[in-house]
């Protein structure tokens, strides 16, 4: 019996890897620009559909397809921030929330119009089916393990970019004080756009793993947004490694909840989030 629970916790931790990927980009954009892109989840789903087209119509390998969309994702994020969001950023957070909310609805219904409501999935081939046995009846899917490792790598890479590179210092500077950055010739408009571009690269990566891991349909976006949001609040706002911890906590909560009753999966995750919010609003692993 204990084996079942250990297995659920293990699967939850691995699921946490995927959730961390949903969250890193949101954490970056929210941390730097002080607004939450409500369409974050819908952009993940949009990227999943893009991958679906690339893998089915063009017959690309999913890994190649993901690599192909990364530069596209950067460009979309950069352009979105530079040409749309920048026009409403700064004066009032309300407007950014409303614009990204509008985008979310447009994407969701655009996908519905284009692809219908049926669940879709990208075929991962042998990667999907291979498992690693740990004995005692506990098996880990190879793909799930790879996803987790990739999530750790994404967090490490973002942390490195933010804290060890010139552009990272610029991003943190703008996050500290936009007006001061502009005064000394650090163009916040440009840095915001780059930060959003990077955020969208993580969206592309997350989509690469999600599109193989689970079914998705045009209405899958909001759930991904809520997960990403819960992960960054759980982990402590603005902390990249905290996101990994937040992802694991949420993944384990859902996985253990599902063991009681499959219908409890989402609810268990939300409840853990609300409980943490009630008792530790600064998150489980605050940065400072």
């Amino acid at each position: 019996m204990a084996g079942v629970w250990i297995n659920q916790i293990l699967q939850g931790i691995l699921l946490g890897g995927l959730y961390t990927m949903f969250a890193t980009g949101l954490s970056l954009s929210a941390g730097v620009m002080r607004f939450v892109n409500i369409a974050h989840g819908d952009f993940i789903v949009l990227a999943c559909f893009l991958l679906l087209i690339l893998t089915t119509s063009l017959g690309l390998n999913p890994i190649v397809a993901t690599l192909v969309i990364l530069p596209v994702a950067f460009a979309v994020g950069f352009g979105l921030q530079r040409f749309l969001l920048q026009r409403v950023v700064g004066e009032n957070v309300l407007l950014v929330i409303l614009v990204t909310f509008g985008l979310s609805i447009i994407i969701e219904n655009g996908l519905l119009e284009g692809f219908g409501a049926d669940p879709q999935k990208v075929a991962g081939g042998w990667m999907e089916t291979a498992t690693i046995g740990l004995g005692g009846g506990i098996n880990m899917g190879l793909f799930q393990v790879v996803t987790f490792v990739a999530a750790v790598a994404v967090v490490a890479a973002l942390d490195l970019v933010l804290y060890r590179t010139g552009i990272g210092a610029k991003i943190r500077a703008v996050s500290d004080d936009v007006a001061a950055a502009d005064l000394i010739g650090l163009s916040s408009v440009r840095i915001y756009a780059v930060a959003m571009g990077i955020s969208f690269v993580t969206i592309g990566i997350a989509a690469g793993f999600m599109s193989i891991w689970t079914d998705f349909d045009p209405a899958s976006g909001p759930t991904r947004l809520l997960i990403a949001f819960e992960v960054i609040v759980l982990g402590g706002l603005g902390s990249m490694w905290g996101s990994l911890m937040g992802g694991i906590v949420l993944g384990v909560a859902q996985s253990v909840g599902a063991q009681f009753d499959i219908a409890w999966q989402m609810l268990a995750g939300h409840l853990v989030f609300l409980i943490v919010l009630a008792v530790r609003p600064q998150g489980l692993f605050p940065k400072y």
Binding site: A30, R34, F35, V36, I38, L84, R87, V88, N92, V93, L94, L95, V96, I97, L98, V99, F101, G102, L103, I105, I106, E108, N109, G110, L112, E113, P222, L225, L226, F229, E230, V233, L237, A263, M266, L267, H270, L271, F273, L274, L277, A278, P281
Partner: protein
């Protein structure tokens, strides 16, 4: 009298006439129109409340469908399960929404701005998923309102529709009046000052935290009662329908943004525009939402105060003046 003032007076007259006509609508219109107008009134209540929260109290909620759903379920509980008087069940549903709003507020107020927005969404998800676990309420698939309850609002169809309409009309009228008096009170002035200028509120001397709490808790019973009335129209409860984010939050946000967020007239104009569009464009389904989404983003880029903001460029004053002060002195 100048031309803008004339136009303004004409608009005010039209508004007054519309109010009178709406008050006696069941004597004037047929069943189809009454059904539509009832729906209009409940949407208007939701729009007024969302505008109050997002446009004045700095609480951009994306989870207002939570309280509509709670109201629907509470109404069903009181009227169908506890067999209380259906009329009484409506205000009781409002009270339940209020009671649920207290812990919800305590949680989401720990978050700020955009985080708060998504926090309200999570709360709504939890309530919807929770509602699906209530076996007495039909579980995940929901259940229909017993026919006896429907009949208690009138045995003849027209009487019933009229009764439900007047309930919706009364709720909308009270909501409008409540918003009007709130915004004209010191609290409203403080909230407006805060919205327009961070330091402004302190100067007015209003406790902003308390004002925001008041707005959040004050909106909940209206949303709950609207949920009860919506249930009387839809005749059933079900988690995804009663807690519909699309119907009770997405459309509402678009309506208010298009009409003019942060103005008293905005939600009214937005809801009218929405119903007119829906009548003329028909049920476009997904395209409806795509168009509304694009339209509202366009509105935000052109005039963040929406259609009423555009009108105000040509009008001397608001339709329903809320501000006491003439024009803010330039510093």
């Amino acid at each position: 009298m100048t031309a803008p003032t004339l136009t303004l007076n004409a608009l005010r007259a039209a508004f007054a006439v519309a109010l009178v006509v709406l008050a006696v609508a069941p004597f004037v219109f047929g069943a189809t129109e009454i059904v539509l107008l009832t729906e209009f009134m409940s949407m208007l209540v939701l729009a007024i409340m969302w505008n109050l929260l997002a446009g004045y109290a700095d609480i951009v909620t994306v989870g207002q469908h939570a309280f509509v759903g709670v109201g629907a379920y509470a109404f069903f509980g009181f009227a169908a399960l506890a067999n209380l008087d259906p009329y009484l069940s409506i205000p009781l549903a409002g009270i339940v929404a209020f009671v649920i709003a207290v812990p919800a507020m305590a949680l989401v107020f720990r978050l700020r701005t955009a985080y708060l927005a998504i926090g309200t969404w999570v709360v709504a998800e939890v309530l919807m998923l929770g509602a699906g676990k209530l076996e007495a309420f039909g579980g995940g698939s929901g259940t229909s309102l017993p026919i006896s309850i429907v009949l208690s609002f009138g045995h003849a169809r027209d009487d019933r529709l009229a009764a439900i309409y007047w309930l919706a009309f009364a709720l909308a009228a009270i909501a409008l009046a409540a918003a009007y008096f709130l915004l004209r009170s010191r609290i409203g002035i403080g909230l407006t000052a805060m919205r327009d200028n961070e330091e402004g509120a302190a100067a007015v001397g209003v406790n902003i935290t308390r004002a925001r709490i008041l707005c959040f808790l004050g909106a909940a019973p209206f949303l709950g009662m609207a949920g009860a009335i919506i249930t009387l129209q839809k005749l059933r409860i079900a988690p995804p329908a009663s807690f519909s984010i699309t119907d009770w939050t997405v459309f509402i946000i678009f309506n208010v943004v298009i009409g003019g967020i942060g103005s008293f007239e905005g939600p009214i104009i937005g809801t009218v525009v929405y119903f007119v569009l829906r009548q003329y464009l028909g049920e476009l389904g997904t395209w409806n939402l795509i168009l509304l989404g694009t339209f509202s983003i366009g509105i935000i880029l052109v005039e963040k105060r929406g259609l009423w903001g555009l009108c105000r460029r040509f009008l001397a004053d608001d339709l329903i003046p809320i501000a006491h002060k003439p024009a803010a002195p330039k510093t």
